[in-house]
Symmetry: C2
Amino acid sequence: MAAKRSGGQSKQSERKVPPPSGPEPRSDQPLSLQRIVATAVELLDSEGIDGLKMRRLADRLGAGAMSLYWHVGSKEEVFDLALDSVLAYNGPAPIDASEDWRGEVVHMLKDWRAGMLRHPWSAALLPRRALGPNILFRLELLSSTLSRAGVADADLNVAIWSLWNYVIGATTTRASFDLSDDDRAAAQQRLTSLSEHYPTIERSRLLLDNDWDGAFSKGLDFLLDGLVPKQ
Amino acid sequence: MAAKRSGGQSKQSERKVPPPSGPEPRSDQPLSLQRIVATAVELLDSEGIDGLKMRRLADRLGAGAMSLYWHVGSKEEVFDLALDSVLAYNGPAPIDASEDWRGEVVHMLKDWRAGMLRHPWSAALLPRRALGPNILFRLELLSSTLSRAGVADADLNVAIWSLWNYVIGATTTRASFDLSDDDRAAAQQRLTSLSEHYPTIERSRLLLDNDWDGAFSKGLDFLLDGLVPKQ
DNA sequence: ACCTGAACACCGTTCAAGT
DNA sequence: ACCTGAACACCGTTCAAGT
């Protein structure tokens, strides 16, 4: 009878975003795309990608189960909209005059990764869907900054894809390791017990080092070293 | 009775497995984990990740719908086993004496990527699951090769993760672009129509260049340049 | 030991119908 | 224009039961 797993929300919902400035979310508020998407993000944050069910989403909105289908074509569309809404870039656009292109690139990529880690379901979704305007804006910003840094047009494509790949790979991996503490502990234990077969992995402490942020930064530095050699 | 969408198999099933000939499942061969996993891979290859249903899998095996549950605990376990079975490394182990560490690394990573692209559902699955023995073996091989190349133990962790991230990101992205020609064409059209807002992306031909293999190689070269600077 | 059908508790979505 | 409940066609899994 009581809510099944309503306790799970405590982690991330510290945010006090009551949509832009509107009144409090009440159950008799009319439905709208905005409210649907915002609530979908909340639900995804607290219940994970498999936790988004149309019926549950409608429930949270205080609406009848099928009301959503007037505003939205399908569940897939909800995913697309939720994903895009989470990728908005609010940081400062790089200044054309700035000489610190590298600092700007690092900042943009860290911000991108941090945003996705705040919504751990988003990273795995991103490479599977058409690119929305928010992520395209981020790619455009990245491209123009790299271009100013001296990357030739002919290399720009490869440079962008390399950074994209690195960020997507790092973030999906990190997010999934984050999901289940139990699974992770079990995996580590299992690995340690097998580690005689994997001596080099053991030596490098591959799965034992928890400094994900540091590893991301260092790897990114190496990649940028390769993409735009220091001279 | 008749197969629903058996036409979808034409792409990848060049393999000469005799079973898939008649609409009605063949023999009264006994069920086994091996057969279940092999058939699951077939099904995933032809129908995609959402196409794997326990009932359909049992059907293809000529078994009653619920028989699988004696061999397997859950659908999740089928995913884990199918994924691991696809990641086996058959290539030559690197020779300790070889000086061409870089060629070996490139070969191992290309082989890894190619294997996953042969089973387009696998890349997205990999970062979400515990690491199985086959992928651990690949990581161990990679680690020891990099170690011989002169990467310090303190940097090995970052180096492996960077390469992991790059391969995972590149492969999930490429595999998803491969899935639906229609979606892709639509996305490109949409992008072109919006391209006035994204001049640098347009200039770099970011989404128009189809040379995925070349882009993967070049980006990997840049990354390796950064990880192990030429001297 | 191995396999099975019936049954349960779901889900996304269609549809005719309400206001 | 906006919302709704009933209903359909699924799906993973449990279970008591068969051989």
